[in-house]
Point group: C2
Chain length 162, copies 2
């Protein structure tokens, strides 16, 4: 698996699983009917922020991550990131590789810490991975997310120093 910069040409390969994940409505706070063009603008970030893809040896795009400052101005020393792994390729360590990549990016870019603003507490795979990689739950917005399957559940704010 290789992780490399995403280009506009990658979007047609990202979009099918991006759309599937967003439409399922269980893990992201995006509109469930987010369109292809708008989604591209939200996900493919201009510099100095970055978007990458994880690519298999045969060229298949397995997942993607975007990374950015979480706040601006005098809060701009805290990074954030988001990840999407193609459900057809889950369980292969793609999410972990992407998360490690973004932590390393944030550290070498000079950020002091990293924060996730809205981790759905029922997204156990993600919560477990983030904990393994050094993130802690700073707090949980009670009933901050309406899961289609489980109803109102908490939204974790997670954080780790760098």
């Amino acid at each position: 698996m290789l992780i490399r910069e995403a280009t506009v040409d990658d979007w047609s390969a990202i979009w099918p699983f991006f759309r599937e994940i967003v439409a399922a409505g269980e893990t992201f706070t995006y509109p469930l009917d987010l369109g292809q063009e708008e989604g591209r603008g939200w996900w493919l970030l201009p510099a100095p922020n970055r978007t990458v893809v994880a690519v298999a040896d045969d060229g298949t795009i397995l997942g993607t991550a975007k990374m950015n400052n979480n706040q601006m101005g005098n809060g701009s020393h805290v990074a954030s990131a988001s990840y999407m792994v193609d459900p057809a390729h889950s369980g292969r360590g793609v999410g972990r590789a992407l998360c490690e990549y973004t932590i390393e990016w944030a550290r070498t870019t000079g950020f002091r810490s990293m924060q996730f603003n809205a981790v759905v507490e029922t997204n156990e795979t993600a919560v477990r991975l983030y904990r393994k990689l050094g993130f802690e739950v700073l707090g949980t917005v009670p009933e901050g997310f309406r899961s289609p399957a489980k109803g109102y559940v908490g939204l974790h704010i997670m954080h780790r120093p760098l």
Copy 2:
């Protein structure tokens, strides 16, 4: 004091104190050199979100608030808001009136709770007011904000049910 919908024509009266507060860099995570046009776009929100001004009997604009959903999609039932009070008119209950207004807006609009994502912990006036109005600190991003006067300080995430 009257609280009414903000219009584009109000911006020239808001901008001087908006700029002063942003440039001071002690309470907002906005770029300290935010420009007038860009600031207007960030502050004057299109419907269904709202921006209001607090106006004195003589027509002077004393402060302003914007209110919006804090997340989208399946997180869109949590509201958020931001407030700016002209430092020349502080201590007159303007902030409290604006905050109460936004809570009432969020409740009647159907939001289930209200969240502030980045309350600078050294902004004691704001933290005290929010606590009085029923908000609690869900968590604090350690060193999440670089105060020009006090160095790295925490950023509270605050929340209240509606």
